[in-house]
């Protein structure tokens, strides 16, 4: 490993002062070659990758691409689940001045075609047979695409005959023959702070996805921000589980991982998420609201199934935790609270948290979408201070964060270091920082609307800032419903009230230019199925489940409860249960499970009409 260290020496200064992510990697490979950078669970065992190995493999990727004729500014796509190869490819690509484009693993072939075509990608890293098949299906329409490098070639039948396909290890060998680390180091030295290095396609709840271009300066700005805000260091440990092509996971698993030097763990993913969390016990966890909601729903379900005594015990300590958490949020954490918390810790919180995989959690964040305050309160009660943050791809996910010592539920906190926030005359939230992106790829019109002459990013969100600088987000500017009576209503506020129920997975409130509001409700099949089993109701499919009068009555109860807390114009007068799950493949939700309102309004026009 010392050989690697020596060869990295030239560009390697201090990781703190490096001018690009690949340069930070080289610096770490010199300073701490043997320290673990990544860990991944393969065939049931955790395998470690140290910095020297990561740098060597990333270099092989970079020089392999050069051998395939990739040059500065070319786009290279990655279509895979989170795994060490994703990071190697990402850094390898950036290191030669090319641009890394992430594609969601769930993206159907048509979406791949759009992203690869729009970005003019010349090489694609495809994970396995499934993703290779998608690419082969549409490659006739992608004249720029020259090579497909396959991480896991098992079952890819044409791998040996098709000249376009390459096995990952063969490709790495190509890069090693082409100079490997020695030459990559020179390439990395040429990457400047203003060079576009990644393109993140935004989920596109309206219209086709837009390719947000981010440069090294954008990416590096996040490192200092996170260090200052959350005090991340090499002692932290994270689990990489949200899609890596999303800016939030990229920040956690690649950008800050290099910046802070902590270990990134890749579990088995999917159904094994809970086991992964239990095994890793991360200290820093970023979740989307759905993750926190599901975790809470899982606990609720297990408690319901336990004995009466256990239930009473659980509720008692949860109530205690709730009180303590409230005091803590307002900086009134006294001696009595300390005792209560210590007892609760010994009797409930510790074991519960370990079971959830949150035993060591130091910083817990929720972002990407609004979360119900009730969910946050729950986690605070068991001593996991989940804090909301706000940001978007276009500002490298940097806008606001919640101060640890003065948490105000319902807001997304205050401007984070280095970020300016302003509310425009029409209520739109504007941000300005080093994180503000370069612009959308090939979309001058959107760029003109998004970044103004003074460098302010127009977020498309509407909100307010209070006297202490706490930002409250009302809704997406485009989503605000104006009823026939002329009232402005934020649908997501109402939707979140309903989503508090573990039985409700997704809600779409409808009512623009209508007399009253209605809702389409997608139930959580697992939770509702479980409820039915306990109630002794039999069912077959989701369609059958959602047509049961008992289930409709169950959801009616949830709606009534929410309605009781809402103003008259905001109440839901009618709702319909959806008989299928909303699916990315069907174009109903984005890859990040954000609802595409326009698509749903169109697909369910009859159902909606029937409610009026």
């Amino acid at each position: 490993m010392t050989a690697v260290a020596e060869r990295s020496e030239a560009v390697a200064g201090d990781p703190e002062s490096a001018s690009s992510l690949p340069a930070i990697l080289l610096a770490r490979a010199v300073q701490t070659p043997d320290r673990v950078a990544l860990r991944s669970k393969d065939l049931g065992r955790w395998r470690e990758v140290d910095y020297a190995t990561l740098a060597e493999r990333s270099a092989a990727v970079g020089m392999g691409l050069v051998a395939l004729g990739v040059t500065v500014g070319d786009a290279v796509a990655i279509h895979a689940e989170n795994r060490p190869e994703w990071v190697e490819a990402d850094l390898g690509i950036q290191g030669i001045g090319a641009v890394a484009v992430g594609v969601y693993p769930t993206s159907p072939a048509a979406e791949c075609e759009y992203l690869l075509g729009h970005s003019e990608s010349v090489v694609l890293f495809a994970e396995d047979e499934e993703q290779v098949d998608k690419a082969l299906e549409v490659r006739a329409n992608l004249p720029r695409l020259r090579h497909i490098v396959v991480f896991d070639a098992r079952g890819v039948r044409s791998i040996d005959e098709d000249p376009m396909l390459l096995r990952y290890e063969e490709f790495l060998a190509l890069g090693r023959d082409n100079g490997g680390l020695d030459r990559w180091r020179d390439e990395v030295a040429r990457v400047g702070p203003e060079d576009v290095s990644i393109i993140v396609y935004t989920s596109g709840t309206t219209g086709p996805p837009k390719g947000a271009q981010l440069c090294q300066r954008n990416l590096l700005s996040a490192i200092s921000t996170y260090r200052e805000l959350y005090d991340v260091s090499r002692h932290d440990e994270v689990l990489s589980y949200l899609p890596l092509c999303h800016i939030a996971e990229r920040l956690v698993s690649v950008i800050n991982a290099l910046g802070a030097g902590y270990v990134v763990n890749f579990g088995e993913g999917g159904e094994s998420f809970n086991t992964d969390l239990q095994e890793v016990q991360p200290t820093f966890l970023l979740g989307v609201p759905r993750v926190w909601e599901k975790m809470l729903a899982g606990v609720t379900l297990r408690v319901e199934d336990s004995s009466r005594l256990k239930r009473a015990f659980y509720r008692f300590w949860l109530a205690q935790g709730h009180t303590v958490a409230e005091h803590r949020r307002h900086g009134r954490f006294g001696a009595l609270d300390r005792i209560r918390h210590a007892l609760g810790w010994a009797l409930l919180y510790r074991s519960l948290r370990t079971k959830l995989g949150l035993g060591r959690i130091r910083v817990a964040l929720s972002g990407a979408a609004p979360i119900a305050p009730q969910v946050l309160e729950y986690f605070w009660s068991i001593g996991v201070p989940v804090r909301e943050g706000y940001g978007q791809t276009e500002n490298t996910a940097q806008a606001t964060g919640m101060p640890a010592d003065d948490v105000r539920l319902g807001t997304v906190g205050t401007a984070i270091p280095g970020v300016e926030i302003r509310i425009a005359d029409d209520g739109e939230i504007l941000t300005r920082s080093d994180g503000v992106f370069v612009g959308y790829l090939k979309n001058a019109e959107a760029n003109a609307e998004t970044i103004d002459a003074e460098g302010w990013l127009h977020t498309g969100d509407v909100g307010t800032v209070d006297a202490d600088g706490y930002l409250t987000i009302t809704d997406r500017k485009k989503d605000i419903i104006i009823t026939a009576g002329g009232k402005n209503i934020s649908p997501s506020e109402i939707e979140n009230r309903l989503k508090v129920s573990p039985f409700v997975q997704e809600v779409i409130v409808v009512g623009d230019r209508r007399k009253y509001l209605t809702a389409l409700v997608a139930v959580d099949p697992e939770m509702v199925g479980n409820w039915c089993t306990r109630e002794g109701l039999s069912f077959t499919t989701l369609d059958d489940l959602t047509k049961k009068p008992e289930v409709v009555a169950l959801v009616q109860g949830v709606v009534d409860e929410a309605n009781a807390e809402l103003a008259q114009v905001e109440t839901i007068k009618q709702f319909t249960l959806l008989s299928k799950e909303l699916d990315h493949g069907d174009g109903e939700v984005t890859a990040t499970q954000k609802v595409k309102r326009a698509a749903i309004a169109r697909d369910y026009a009859d159902v909606i009409e029937a409610m009026y």
Partner: protein
């Protein structure tokens, strides 16, 4: 799917097999060939002799006449354990798992025939036994990955849903690293979703491992979707062998299923049975 070309020599040759139990003839002059990489299905009404044929293939029964040859080796007259060593693995209609053992241990049992170190070496955890155990464990983990059993790997098999148990049963057979895999009604008693999942795994086994398989199954849409060739049995006699589409239209097959000569309406009725689930599947998630 692997084409059944005649240019390659068959992997398995069954010639004129006759099996009698007292006065009952279970198999009467059955002959067929299975080619490397092929998925060969045997169909027929209840009691047609499908499972009897399987039992002859792995030497549970010894046929009175005829010959079964696997890659040049005669199977007839061997003991079941010997056929397992020759590379024939099977799954059972009724599960053959150890309910109190976890998934890993059940699959490790499938590796038993591949373990070379003796009891003493294993008990003392000597170098070779240890290396061997690690190697077997790795193979078991590969199967767990292939069949997506990660989330249940440490759970006792008896507590798991039926559909998952069937998958573990398949995994146990795969753990033997067989040359020829016999699948006895892999989707019996499963709902539509579980059936689709199982179909997906069978396809993956064929594509990724290139394994030769013989499938006995009542679920006609599944057979028609997956099989490269189909043999229909009736009262122990093969009445037709060929590609699925051909078998579906064969008047003798239709007759065997309905117990009467085929006329136009009967044919439609059978087609309906053979195809209705098929459409349900392709409209839904779809079996490739």
């Amino acid at each position: 799917m692997a084409p059944a070309t005649t240019s390659v020599p068959p992997m398995l040759t069954v010639t004129d097999v006759v099996l009698r139990f007292g006065g009952v003839t279970a198999l009467d002059d059955v002959s067929f060939e299975v080619y490397p990489g092929e998925l060969f299905a045997i169909i027929g009404p209840n009691g047609a002799g499908k499972t009897s044929m399987f039992n002859c293939l792995n030497a549970v029964y010894v046929p009175q006449q005829g010959k079964i040859v696997l890659d040049g080796d005669d199977v007839t007259g061997k003991k079941p354990a010997e056929t397992a060593r020759m590379g024939i693995a099977r799954t059972f209609q009724n599960l053959g798992l150890f309910a109190n053992l976890d998934v890993i241990d059940n699959l490790m049992l499938g590796r038993h025939n591949r373990m070379k170190t003796g009891f003493l070496a294993g008990a003392l955890w000597l170098g070779r036994a240890r290396r061997e155990e690690i190697e077997h464990r790795r193979r078991v983990e590969e199967i767990i990955e292939l069949l997506e059993l990660q989330v249940v790997r440490k759970q006792p098999v008896g507590l798991l849903p039926y559909g998952v148990q069937k998958r573990i049963e398949l995994g146990r057979a795969l753990a033997m690293d067989p040359r020829l895999l016999l699948l006895d009604e892999p989707v019996a008693g499963m709902n539509l979703e579980e059936t689709q999942d199982m179909a997906r795994y069978i396809i993956e086994i064929q594509e990724e491992l290139g394994l030769t398989m013989i499938l006995v199954e009542h679920d006609m849409p599944l057979v028609m979707d997956l099989a490269d060739r189909v043999m229909a049995l009736d009262f122990g006699t093969p009445i037709a062998t060929g590609p699925p589409a051909e078998i579906q239209d064969n008047p003798r097959v239709i007759e065997a299923y309905l117990g009467q000569p085929a006329d136009a309406t009967a044919r439609d009725a059978v087609h309906h049975v053979l195809e209705s689930r098929h459409h349900a599947e392709t409209e839904g998630e779809g079996v490739r």
